[in-house]
Amino acid sequence: MSELILGPFSRVEGDLEVRIEINDNRVAQAFVAAPLYRGFEQILQGRPAQDALVIAPRICGSCSVSQSVASAQALAMAMDVVPPANGVIAANLILACENAADHLTHFYLFFMPDFASGTYGGRGWHDRAVERFKAQSGVAGRQAQKARVAFLHAMGILAGKWPHNLAVQPGGTTKSVDLGERMRLLAVLAEFRSFLETTLFADSLENIAALTSVDALERWREERPAEVGDFRLFLHIAEDLHLSTVGRGPARFLSYGAFGGNDGQLFASGLWRDGDLSPLDLAGLREDLSHAWMCGGSQHPDDGVTMPDADRLDAYSWCKAPRLNGETCEVGAFARQMVAGHPLIRALAVVADGRASVQGRVVARLLELALLVPAMERWVHSLAGAEAYCQSVAVPDRADGFGLVEAARGSLGHWLSVEGGQIRQYQVVAPTTWNFSPRDKAGQPGPLEEALVGAAVLPGEEFPLTVQHVIRSFDPCMRCAVH
């Protein structure tokens, strides 16, 4: 038995340290630590209620809009206000823009550069991976940066700037969109679609969205040479490195549901547990603090407290450990599509013991790009010319509320209590709080801790690559995990 303490990690949002115990060249146990604490929940207390709209998004510069939408929804519930249809659609567009940009950034800038590593020299695909994905110099990374710059013009049109804007309010959005701006949005989306269909998929988004089985995905991969489309190259690499067998997390997936409107949600909410889907019910949600540098016991976020205690015995992370009915859940694009019922993702789980894998998580994220962009196109068309975008309502003296959002990285919740017009209590449970949580009182490892068990560690490897693939496959955001 040997041990490695791994960090710092590049191409991971925020600070992460992972301790692994190694037996027979495999990870036997993993302990995932978040070594940074800033204290946003404490900072929010006592501020005027609507200040949450300014402060909460600044938890994270990658998931800024997700945090913004969650705080606006929590306030909307407290204020008892329902945004007009245009405001709902515009907020969906703003959130979808961030989620899609995050998925793109993850694939091209954070995840794929690992395959350009010299460790893989000699593999059939390695030269191509270096050319396309080498960190900073790879051609694909640069193409993706340009595509991202152009795509974020949609954020400009709808929300002024990114990251950290105030466009999403409890009563709707602050920016009405005129006819010319709607046309510009369509042009931006067309440009982004063109990048995805040419460079990422080398196929139409609709064809990607229509892949419904493992066989169909396999046939699609083999239809054309490996270098035609970056997605196909990834599938070849995944096949060669058996990435569908690596990094399997818990067989439980949670999604709060995403992009609601008059005609329901684009992605439905629920809990997938060992093959069964049940409606979303957060009554059994608790944040366990037994291995976090925090004072207190296990609480629902309605009653949660955040009080750091750097001396707590048995603690090894600033991250709390959310559990639903005492169990861990994986969240993120794979979980979202499991719950929403996309046949390809359900099929990928069937061949992976009901779980997500490194391959599955990446496929789900790219599949979502193929689902989100056409949805955004539809939503732009459904914005109604001269109708309102925002309703204005005062903050009540005393009220509670919560906001549940699907960020790119998964389920994000804000719980808020207002007294005397000020924030009495504010709790955030972010996607990576779920995925990268430490052990709980029962000793149950968090989802990443579980997913790392069995990962290969090559003899002499000081920063094991397979471990890095597993970690990055979750697209972790440590800044959100501990806020």
Partner: protein, 337 residues
């Protein structure tokens, strides 16, 4: 003639107590994206947490070489507030893979850098993480709020003789970051090019108000009363664009936009202590109906007199549109013949 350094400008970029938003913003550098923009300007990222290939022991060795002086580098960019608590032990942010606090790494590496750049208001002034509500004792590199000092001390100068260059903003505009680095690469950004808070004057000598698309509403004091309305945001909705350093409405963001022209207040995010406004961020504090935060360089009596005059002269079109979220009264079409 452009003076060029003989070699590339090498940049070491660390994230302290940050949200990562400054990097996310910088990645949006128009129109090429960050990697290619920097490469064309002969700027090399020696290590960057979001972009570098290397991690783990390799990075720790690189940082150690930079710290010992064995490996020379030009610029230390720091993103995020420096967490020095509790009681100075830096416990709230230990660099992963080791035992040293990030704030200690930053303090040591700063001594070896020719230039130190605070990317964003947290690294510059502490900003939101520097709240007294938390025990993290967060600081900026050379300021905490408006108070000189910070992690490195008030009189501290980097190897080149410049103080910390504060590219503040929450997040800063990608152009501010890139152009500051380019100016350093060309050896032309000097102390005289920084304002009294160490901010590059090429953007900080402007006010966000300059070029605001709501200018006509401002002129006539035709104010929005609620979010999404077209009127000026100063009187009711907390806009500090007339006080805030920044060329946001001149260079614009994400393809041609800004905070005020998307319908919400400028919160003066480039200024120290912006995180602690009088009252709520999105409401204008007033005394006897007069906003407390007046446009800079404007005496109160003049502001009041001008407002009364402006309001009495407000065209009906401007008054009506100010409280709508679409133009309901278009400008009168005059015949040109």
């Amino acid at each position: 003639m452009v003076t060029r350094l003989k070699s590339r400008l090498s940049v070491l970029w660390l994230q302290a107590g940050s949200c990562g938003g400054c990097t996310m913003s910088a990645l949006g550098a128009e129109t090429l994206g960050l990697s290619e923009t920097l490469e064309r300007a002969d700027i090399e990222l020696l290590w960057h947490p979001s972009l570098a290939e290397e991690g783990g022991p390799e990075v720790l060795r690189l940082l150690e070489q930079c710290r010992s002086g064995e490996r020379a580098f030009d610029v230390l960019c720091v993103e995020g507030a420096l967490l020095t608590g509790s009681n100075g032990n830096g416990r709230f942010q230990i660099l992963a893979g080791g035992l040293r606090p990030v704030s200690c790494w930053v303090r040591d590496l700063a001594q070896r850098a020719r230039y130190v750049v605070a990317v964003g208001s947290c690294a510059a002034f502490g900003a939101i993480p520097a709240s007294p509500a938390v025990p993290t004792e967060a600081k900026g590199l050379q300021y905490t709020g408006e108070e000189p000092g910070g992690l490195l001390g008030a009189g501290w100068l980097s190897g080149s003789g410049l103080p910390v260059i504060n590219v503040s903003g929450c997040a800063p505009h990608p152009g501010w970051v890139v152009e500051t680095l380019m100016g350093l690469g060309q050896g032309i950004l000097q102390t005289a090019d920084l304002d009294s808070f160490g901010r590059p004057r090429f953007w900080a000598d402007h006010l966000v108000h300059h070029g605001c698309a709501r200018n006509e509403f401002y002129e006539f004091k035709a104010s929005a009363a609620a979010p999404s309305q077209l009127g000026c945001l100063l009187e009711n909705l907390g806009c500090k664009g007339t006080q805030a350093p920044g060329d946001c409405n001149l260079r614009l963001w994400n393809g041609g936009w800004s905070c005020p022209n998307a319908g919400y207040a400028c919160i003066n995010c480039t200024s120290p202590a912006f995180e602690d406004p009088i009252g709520a961020f999105l409401e204008t504090p007033k005394v006897a109906g007069v906003p407390l935060g007046l446009p800079v360089d404007m005496p109160k009596a003049w502001y009041v007199a001008l407002s009364v005059l402006s309001k009495s002269a407000t065209p009906d079109r401007v008054r009506k549109n100010a409280c709508e979220d679409h133009v309901v009264v278009p400008p009168h079409c005059r015949s040109t013949s």
